[in-house]
């Protein structure tokens, strides 16, 4: 199982219950496709709180956070 959270303008893409099934070899890019999120709308990807790129392979139990470009302060 993967925990997936989508934020700000992406929040409507959050999967039901915030979880999707894990399968070996799954990358961040695959998850975007599954959730129907255009790649160009994703600016920051966190896997377990660390910044990663779209080709990152995921492990079972990972926590994935997807963000558009955000700022503030």
């Amino acid at each position: 199982m993967l925990e997936v959270k989508c934020f700000a303008t992406l929040q409507d893409h959050t999967p039901e219950g915030g979880k999707i099934d894990y399968r070996p070899g799954l990358t961040v890019r695959d998850v975007l496709k599954m959730l129907d999120i255009p790649e160009e709308e994703v600016k920051v990807v966190f896997v377990n709180g660390e910044y990663k790129d779209l080709d990152t392979s995921l492990q079972d139990g990972d926590r994935l956070g997807l963000f558009p470009a955000v700022g503030g302060g």
């Binding site: 934020f7 303008t9 709180g49 558009p68 470009a69 503030g72 302060g73």
Partner: protein, 577 residues
């Protein structure tokens, strides 16, 4: 030639000066810090007659240029004991600039407490003692002043905290809707104004001359490109207007750097309940305003009107920093309670970052329970009573409150409380906290951009590499932006847009009729920091104060289990010399 007005708060004498050639090419923070460096003794008492409160418009303020209406307030800080510039929105800066005024300097201090109001219009300056305003909140004071002077004036005002010389006191500015919800918050500048017996300054630009632009055609062309740059960038064009600055709650939480329970944890389990997404949803449902600007000409519009369940206005300028300091940091997880706390801070004239941290320190001491929003509201209300001793302690900020209760977990640098990014897991901004002449201040060098948001570069927030350099460069760039009158949020777009700095140079050149290069802008930042560091040296600061509290080096921060690992000597490389 733009002018500087000096007001002697003891004698009410007013002197109007033409700016010198050197000063005429400065504005905002560059001007406040230059005047303080030249005229205020480093070792003076910040609440004494030798300190000066300097209010300066930006170099580009008063023009129709997008997002150019910010104002700088400076003095020797009673909180840090060093130099201070606090930056605010509101309508004051543009009105002041349209009157041809670049700076106002409040000097000396009266022998007895006064509650004076300074009124400035095209004909000059009037000063009136209005004891009926004594100890009133900033909202009621503003309403009375709008009744007296008309609804179109701009107001700069202190609340009971400033009048009673509390170290966490802010100076509040009215926004386009007349709400005193914008703040020059940090460093206790409200107390400096209170020490001079000035309750408010009212600025009236009726029939004021326009700002003179040396080359209007060149200015217009560059201004058009400038607006495009801001509108095209995803952060300034889309993210900030949609969700406000509280859009950061979720991303900083996800990054494991949202300081929780007085900097014990990097994630708050109720983060979603106090997020920008949640705020926008509530405001929409209740009929408030999701996006509004803090000054005319703002096209980013990160402010809002937050309303209660009945649609009644509570607060605006309800910022990420405010929500974090009063919320995750104290475990208060109810947005309505946080909005009331923000309203109280604005009305009392208190810095929200300092006050949120202070409430957390008071929770450490057992004065109130963790997460108890109602108790926090009652605690702040005590500050209205100038004789309430607990109110006095709390309004003096985190370091003072820690000392009053014997608490050793107090997150301050140079006695100023830390903002909303744990420095162990956002090391770039930690370098800024440690080394800025302002004390712990995220705006002084916002490496959160490169560390977390991936704007203007990508530097690992958990490791040391690259973080000294990025903080140093951002501290320089920020000092320059703070001179122009631009909102600092333009930096998100500037960092990612190739011709942005060149566009700023064109704007400055067209405004002043003198060629500004990108190097000149960088040098403006460097020279401002040099003035500030030199002042602090005279005020007694050494490198020993350029460090975070000890617990950041000893306690690993979950979830990344990072510690703060820069030495004082390593950190010196982040300072200009």
């Amino acid at each position: 030639m733009d002018k500087l007005i000096r007001i002697n708060t003891k004698t009410n004498e007013v002197v109007v000066e033409d700016l010198s050639e050197e000063m005429s090419l400065l504005g905002g923070r560059a001007l406040t810090s230059k005047i303080i460096r030249q005229e205020v003794p480093g070792n003076c008492h910040p609440l004494g007659a030798s300190n000066k409160l300097v209010i300066a418009t930006g170099m580009l303020s008063g023009t129709p240029l997008a997002n150019s209406g910010r104002i700088s307030v400076g003095a020797k800080s009673p909180l840090t004991g060093g130099i201070k510039e606090a930056n605010s929105g509101g309508v004051f800066s543009q009105k002041m600039a349209k009157l041809g005024l670049r700076g106002l300097v409040l000097e000396d201090k009266p022998e007895e407490k006064t509650t004076k109001v300074i009124y400035i219009n095209k004909d000059g300056v009037q000063i009136e003692n209005m004891p009926e305003l004594a100890n009133l909140g900033t909202y009621e004071t503003s309403n009375k002043l709008f009744e007296k002077y008309g609804s179109k004036v701009g107001i700069l005002v202190i609340g009971p905290a400033g009048e009673n010389l509390r170290l966490a006191a802010s100076i509040q500015f009215t926004d386009p809707k007349g709400r005193p919800a914008r703040a020059a918050g940090r460093g206790g500048l409200g107390a400096v104004m209170g020490s001079k017996g000035i309750k408010a300054i009212v600025i009236d630009d009726k029939d004021a001359p326009r700002v003179k632009i040396a080359d209007t055609e060149a200015f217009k062309a560059a201004a058009k490109r400038w607006a495009e740059i801001l509108q095209k960038h995803a952060v300034t064009g889309q993210g900030l207007p949609s969700f406000g600055t509280a859009i950061l709650i979720n991303i900083i939480n996800e990054a494991g750097a949202l300081p929780t329970k007085n900097f014990r944890f990097g994630r708050f389990e109720k983060a979603a309940d106090v997020s920008g997404e949640k705020m926008a949803e509530l405001i929409q449902k209740r009929g408030g305003v999701v996006a509004e600007g803090c000054h005319p000409g703002c096209i980013i519009r990160c402010s809002q009107a937050y309303v209660d369940e009945n649609g009644e206005y509570i607060t605006s300028g309800f910022e990420y920093e405010t929500i974090w300091a009063l919320g995750p940091n104290t475990l208060i997880d109810n947005l309505d309670e946080l909005a009331q706390l923000d309203r109280l801070c604005d009305d009392l004239g208190l810095d929200t970052i300092e006050t949120g941290n202070t409430i957390a320190v008071a929770m450490e001491a057992g004065v109130l329970s963790w997460g108890d929003g109602q108790a926090a509201i009652e605690l702040l209300k005590r500050i209205y009573d100038p004789n309430d001793y607990l109110g006095r302690i709390i309004a003096n900020g985190s370091a003072f409150t820690g000392e009053a209760f014997g608490i050793d977990r107090v997150p301050v640098v140079k006695r100023q409380a830390l903002p909303a990014y744990d420095p162990r897991s956002v090391k770039g901004v930690g370098v800024t906290y440690a080394t800025s002449p302002m004390g712990a201040d995220h705006t002084a060098g916002y490496a959160v951009c490169q560390n977390i948001l991936k704007v203007g570069g990508d530097i690992n927030p958990l490791k040391k590499e690259g973080n000294i350099e990025v903080s140093k460069n951002l501290q320089i760039a920020t000092a320059a932006i703070d001179a122009t009158g631009f909102c600092l949020f333009v930096a998100f777009a500037v960092l990612d847009t190739e011709d942005a700095m060149d566009t700023i140079a064109k704007l400055l050149s067209a405004r002043f009729g003198k060629t500004f290069t990108v190097d000149d802008i960088v040098n403006l930042g460097i020279n401002t920091l040099k003035d500030e560091l030199a002042f602090n040296k005279d005020a007694g600061f050494t490198k020993a104060q350029d460090q975070l509290p000890e617990f950041f080096s000893k306690e690993p921060l979950p979830p990344h289990n990072t510690v703060w690992d820069f030495s004082i000597d390593e950190l010196q490389a982040a300072k200009v010399n």
